[in-house]
Point group: D2
Chain length 137, copies 4
């Protein structure tokens, strides 16, 4: 599993004092970004010259509210690896509570700024091998 | 069905020139907010003095990229109405294309700023009747 | 003056129930984007293929809090027009109150995705003439 | 001076591949939040039960674009300390370049959720003394 800590900040919470859920998904995107950079050696700063990894499917169950100052442990693993796509399980927890959990599917695409088309493109063998280390069955 | 138009703006798009998916969920939250205000007569400006409507479950399939200037039609309907919860189907489309579709479950809770607890509370009969007009079976 | 209305939404407000100031600057960016599209006929969807208009200077005085449901009138005018830059005055008001006011300077640049350089480039004569109609002295 | 490092992420950048300026102001708010928690011992998680620190004045000069992966050093100091307000200078830099610099004025207010009024309230003596350690003249 790939794990990161993120603290709930003022900018994340809404009028009720709890994290506004689109902010949770920014936190999830940060987790995927860290995973690509730190574990897969595919930093987004390089990747986006030629490729993108759009999210095509997302399922989240929000179990418990999170509040300013809470230190969340964000965990990510791979539940399914396809040719050009990867499905990751994820969980955010605080102390002994699960805050949220879900599944996100990303597709590797080649980008062409001149066109409006995104084309699926298989992961390189190298990236594929690194992803495989996070498969949990 | 409850429908609203929203134009994709500069702030919504990422480096690849397509909508960054947490921004789609801000658009979805705006749609729910408009539905509560315009159709259910429960404006968030009033609701949040005593209640909240946290999202507890979310499923989204992102079908096609959206770009700056695209006018999206956002549609929402009710697929399941429980005592204190409501599950809504939603779809964002652009011209003849489905950009995304999914399902979101909201729970009506009473808020108590002094405590960290959120308690489920049944919708009022009046709100319930208004919600029922959007049920599609 | 160029005017637009924007309603304060749930996503804009913080734990104190008032607009979180970075959200005011997203609203300001939307105002500039609308001005370029509707008044200057330079929609951001076209502009960003070859050019950008980064903000180089910003001054804001926040006078009064704004809350969910408040309908803000956002106004923009030109206080100074340079060769490749324009300084705009702006004001957000609610009923008889000024919520904020300030000044923002934008520079027209040519973009080259392949390099890290942004180069100032004079506005076209056509754009210049349209900008001039908003000069208030 | 109070210093923090923040890395530019995918969520911060726009279509041109550079940080969208409202995101810089979220980074600034994070810096102020860290300063209150780590240096002034006034964490926002506690402060917001009874008080707020709204921003009343902001001046920023954006000097150079920042891109995904750039590690920014964010610095903050005090240029003026009033009874209930504090004016902070700030600078974000990357390697030897200044990305932005400016000045922000915050006011300590007491919050009353029941009313729409924010009232200025002097900083406590303890907080005042901690702030004074960051005064640069």
């Amino acid at each position: 599993m790939f794990n990161k800590i993120e603290k709930v900040r003022f900018k994340h919470v809404d009028y009720a004092g709890i994290v506004f859920y689109p902010r949770f998904l920014e936190m999830l995107n940060d987790l995927v970004e860290d995973w690509f950079e730190e574990a897969l050696e595919r930093p987004f700063s390089k990747i986006h010259e030629t490729n993108g990894i759009p999210t095509v499917d997302l399922k989240v169950q929000f179990k418990k509210a999170a509040r300013i100052g809470d230190e969340l442990t964000k965990s990510l693993w791979v539940s399914k690896l396809g040719g050009a796509s990867v499905t990751c399980g994820f969980k955010f927890s605080h102390e002994n509570d699960t805050i949220l959990e879900g599944e996100v599917t990303l597709v590797n695409v080649s980008l062409n700024k001149g066109t409006t088309e995104l084309k699926a493109e298989p992961f390189s063998l190298e990236t594929r091998e690194r992803i495989q280390q996070f498969v949990i069955t």
